[in-house]
Symmetry: C2
Subunit: 138 residues, 2 copies
Amino acid sequence: MTETNPANDHVAREEGLVFMPRFDQNGLITAVAVEHKTHQVLMVAYMNQEALAKTLATGEAWYWSRSRNSLWHKGDTSGQIQTIHEMRVDCDQDCLLLFVSVGADGGCCHTGRPTCFYRVVNTDADGHTRLIKQNNEI
Amino acid sequence: MTETNPANDHVAREEGLVFMPRFDQNGLITAVAVEHKTHQVLMVAYMNQEALAKTLATGEAWYWSRSRNSLWHKGDTSGQIQTIHEMRVDCDQDCLLLFVSVGADGGCCHTGRPTCFYRVVNTDADGHTRLIKQNNEI
């Protein structure tokens, strides 16, 4: 690593205004989708370079489906299109935060729920960890 | 994959109440930390099995630092301890959501800011993408 390579320049990456997303060894960057009004965290997914380019070009969220190994226009079949209101990037530019509004019924999770995070991880006094479903999201 | 292995049983993983976190090929699970009152997304980091166990046991966020290759008790030196108010897991149990309160000055990012997501990704009419710092978070 040398300071002459902007990709390795921490100051430029952290304080600069040049977008230089860092994709991991699988060519993916993490993306957190949040409902733009309520700030409810909806899902965490991944984009490859093409998905990110399509997201920026269309204003709708495109991901890379790791399970299907294919480009994924979120909501293409369900109508639950995620329209981007704002995209942010974190300090070291290896994670994106998407503020979105959701089409159709406003759902997000493939289980039909509005968010993928519908279970609380609970550890009781004996140290046993169990999941608890939230009443309003079952 | 067989249906007799609970780890491969999608119904158990998605609808069950047994916590079976899925670590990736590097032994890590993604964790999104959110301020528990404001729901502001603070950071995205990673936990290995030990970090997750310590988080559950102590009620404070422990991560695995990929840059330092070491266990990381967030706030250990800065005082910006993240106390867990609630932990959630997503549908396929490969991502955690932490609702936290932050100690000391309430900061999170190593740059000194309250959140790691202090820059907006903006694409202008000509298709040029630039970052914009938020006034209240510079």
